[in-house]
């Protein structure tokens, strides 16, 4: 409106521009851009000047230099003569490992606690409430340190450790497990496993089709499980068990051989799972409560048994409410795994952002790498979440 008036009167004063919503918006944005650019430019020139004054070089060439430090848990081959870059990759893999393991266990804990919290059983629902309130209100760093302390102090030293089960030793240097080492021909077992999964999915689809057409229920789950487990097992036995098991054996002060789960990893895994599980429990509870009680009653009226009601009616509707905050809890868990540095688990922050940074003094570059990796992870996850949200969004009439 006002734009038309200005054109009619042709008296464009500063005041009229300012009063016009559109032009004021443009002016404000230009000011904002200039302000932010000045701010960033100032930081940039400060940084350049500071780096110059301190004689610090900038560049990523340090990544090729040998790291000269050991990492106590490596998923890929690594020794101290490898480059900083490789150390960072080892750290990133450690971060992803503890995040993945933590997410699985936290989900199990969270769903169990969330469902039990709503159960009629007074003792259990109170117990779960205590679990949730206790762990949610204590800093996760403290919990990591506590679990680490418990593992280090209360488990026996390797020399005094007795086998928990045949070949399994719980010690303060970690949990030692027998490790199967695949021999020649083991690849066929993987192929069989893959085939089993494909067959199971195909059968599930077929069973769904039959159910829709005739209403007949085929035991898809049992068939699926037996195919996925059975097929590789048969191939495995036919090939004559191409696996050698390496048992941990005490040599000197520590165990040799077998597979070891380090105490740092266990403490971090435990603490993150328990902590995040409490948050997930609350999310699950809220999700289930968000499903109208009429749904449960309707299902009961149709003669659906209580556990089927939960599985087929309530949970699917609750999932729409549960999934978005659940994913952000997964992200939180991944970010919290950076507290690994407090107990010496060598994750991304402890390798590139910790020892490499201190050794080379390349603070800018190292922190830049760490930040971009975390940003990348969270951007990917939030993109996936947006796609999911669009798919499950309630289509209202």
């Amino acid at each position: 409106m006002s734009g038309i008036q200005i054109q009619e009167k042709k008296t464009v004063t500063l005041g009229s521009i300012w009063r016009d919503k559109k032009s004021r918006g443009v002016i404000l944005q230009i000011i904002a851009v200039i302000g932010i650019l000045l701010f960033l430019g100032n930081i940039f020139s400060n940084t350049v000047e500071n780096l110059d004054r301190l004689g610090v070089k900038v560049g990523f060439d340090f990544l090729d230099e040998p790291a000269n430090y050991d990492i106590n848990q490596t998923l890929i081959d690594y020794d101290s003569s490898d480059s900083h870059f490789k150390a960072g990759v080892v750290g990133l893999l450690n971060t992803l490992l503890v995040a993945a393991c933590g997410i699985v266990v936290a989900t199990i804990f969270g769903f169990t606690a969330g469902v039990l919290r709503l159960s009629n059983n007074f003792v259990l629902s109170r117990l779960m409430q205590v679990y949730v309130e206790l762990t949610r209100n204590i800093p996760v760093l403290l919990q990591i340190l506590l679990w680490h302390g418990i593992i280090i102090h209360s488990l026996p030293v390797p020399k005094k450790a007795e086998a928990f089960v045949e070949g399994v030793f719980l010690t303060n240097r970690g949990v030692f497990l027998p490790q199967p080492i695949p021999q020649e021909g083991f690849g066929w077992v993987w192929i069989a496993l893959f085939l089993g999964i494909v067959i199971a999915i195909a059968f599930k689809r077929y069973a769904n089709k039959i159910q829709i057409e005739t209403g007949k229920l085929l035991p898809a789950i049992w068939v699926g499980v037996s195919v996925v487990i059975g097929l590789p097992l048969i191939v495995f036995l036919l090939l004559g068990t191409p696996v050698e098991i390496s048992y941990p054996a005490l040599k000197g002060f520590n165990f040799k051989g077998g597979f070891v789960v380090k105490p740092e990893f266990m403490a971090l895994w435990f603490a993150l799972s328990i902590y995040t599980g409490a948050f997930i429990a609350e999310i699950v509870r809220a999700g289930i409560q968000s499903v109208d009680h009429g749904q449960t009653e309707a299902a009961h009226a149709l003669g659906i048994r209580p556990n089927f009601t939960m599985r087929l009616v309530v949970i699917p509707q609750a999932m729409r409410v549960i999934i978005p905050p659940l994913i952000s809890q997964y992200l939180n868990l991944t970010k919290n795994s950076s507290l690994a540095i407090a107990i010496g688990y060598m994750d991304l922050v402890a390798t590139i952002g910790g020892i490499s940074l201190n050794q080379t003094g390349r603070a800018l570059e190292s922190m830049g790498i760490v930040l971009s990796v975390y940003l990348f992870i969270s951007i990917v996850i939030s993109l996936l979440m947006n796609i999911y949200n669009k798919r499950v969004a309630l289509v209202s009439r």
Partner: protein, 375 residues
């Protein structure tokens, strides 16, 4: 005919007590604890869990524990004899450090006054229906400023206490409360920018919020301790605590901005349109119509972020500030108290639990109280 039952006219018979077993504790237990085999089993497992966790813990923490009269862990063990309980003596011995850090003993009264002022401020904010609101609000705004001058010193004839002497609960409270209160106005600005129709504003606000929320706090603290000095003009020497406070403030601003954005999104469009129809300018409509409603909805979420931030203050120990955890770790690394890590973590955990649990209860209460709308 002596046993003849008394006759009542229809409908006049007094109510009989319900059959036994359908009311009272027995019925309740049957419904809630032993309704089915699996339920009974779960109850028993639950009770067993309580039995194996609670009594030993109480025995360890209270019955067999030692608080007074021990100068070292060895003496603790001597007093305890065969019963191995907790040795709380180091907490008792170093209580001053746990509360004040290395704040000079003769100046601690200043911190105490600051604590009292902070408590008064909180009381003013929390207690509803106070009379004479205005002077009290002015007092609530003034108290933090007075506390600031009191604790830092260097003016009004008070000796300056450098921030590297600050520690313990004092430090936790300073980081937590500064983080929340300074970040509030910033977060309102960020939330408004993010939903603004002006693309540049929403672009930069989104970038900032997503950046902060996408990275762990510990990396931001590392930036504060290692990188921030690069970004500042050469020669300027920023105190580590101040750098940490800046980072913590930005961190919580990003999180609270998202909470407020949720509150803004929950305001019906009609409210915006009504404000426009009244001819209110953008800032007027925000100040008078939108923000009061949006902030009201967001309060529980803001308290939630505050609890998160308060717990996260423990991370400062990783970059070398001495919060209660740092003080305690220093204590248990001495030869007298070595090996008392469990006691330390339980003690600090209790401290945080009391704070955070009461805040979360308060937030629940607020949520109920503020729920004035129809539902």
């Amino acid at each position: 005919m002596s046993t003849e039952t008394k006759k009542y006219s229809i409908g006049m018979h007094p109510a009989l007590p319900p059959p036994s077993g359908t009311v009272g504790p027995v019925r309740w237990m049957r419904d809630n604890l032993f309704s089915s085999t699996s339920n009974t089993l779960l109850t028993l497992i639950g009770l067993y869990l309580v039995y194996i966790i609670v009594p030993p813990f109480i025995e360890w923490a209270f019955i067999d524990s030692v608080i007074f009269g021990a100068e070292s862990r060895k003496e603790c063990l001597k007093i305890m004899g065969d019963d191995r309980g907790a040795c709380w003596s180091f907490v008792y011995k170093r209580w001053g450090q746990f509360v004040y850090g290395f704040y000079p003993v003769e100046e601690r009264w200043r911190v105490n006054v600051g604590f009292i002022l902070a408590a008064l401020t909180i009381a003013i904010v929390l207690i509803e229906n106070l009379r004479a609101k205005k002077p009290l609000i002015i007092a609530a705004l003034a108290f933090p400023i007075i506390s600031f001058f009191l604790v830092t010193g260097g003016s009004f004839g008070l000796a300056e206490v450098p921030t590297n002497k600050w520690g313990g609960i004092l430090l936790t409270l300073i980081v937590g409360f500064t983080g929340i209160f300074v970040s509030l106005p910033i977060s309102i600005m960020l939330a408004l920018s993010r939903i603004s129709k002006l693309p540049i504003f929403s672009f930069f606000a989104t970038i900032f919020i997503e950046f902060i929320r996408g990275v762990p706090l510990i990396t931001l603290l590392f930036i504060a301790s290692t990188l921030l000095s690069y970004f500042l003009p050469p020669g300027s020497n920023f105190d580590l605590l101040l750098r940490v406070l800046i980072m913590v403030t930005l961190f919580s601003a990003a999180y609270i901005a998202e909470v407020i954005r949720g509150g803004l999104a929950a305001i019906p469009t009609g409210q915006y349109e009504a404000a426009d129809a009244l001819g209110l300018s953008y800032w007027q409509s925000m100040r008078l119509i939108i923000l009061p409603q949006a902030l009201k909805i967001s309060i529980p979420g803001i308290v939630g972020s505050f609890i998160g931030l308060f717990k996260d203050t423990t991370l400062v120990v990783i970059i070398g500030l001495l919060d209660p955890l740092g003080i305690g770790m220093a204590a248990i690394s001495t030869t007298e108290w070595a090996g008392l890590s469990t006691e330390l973590y339980v003690f600090i955990g209790l401290f945080f639990f009391i704070f955070c649990f009461s805040m979360s209860r308060y937030s629940l209460h607020l949520e109920k109280k503020l729920h004035t709308g129809h539902k």
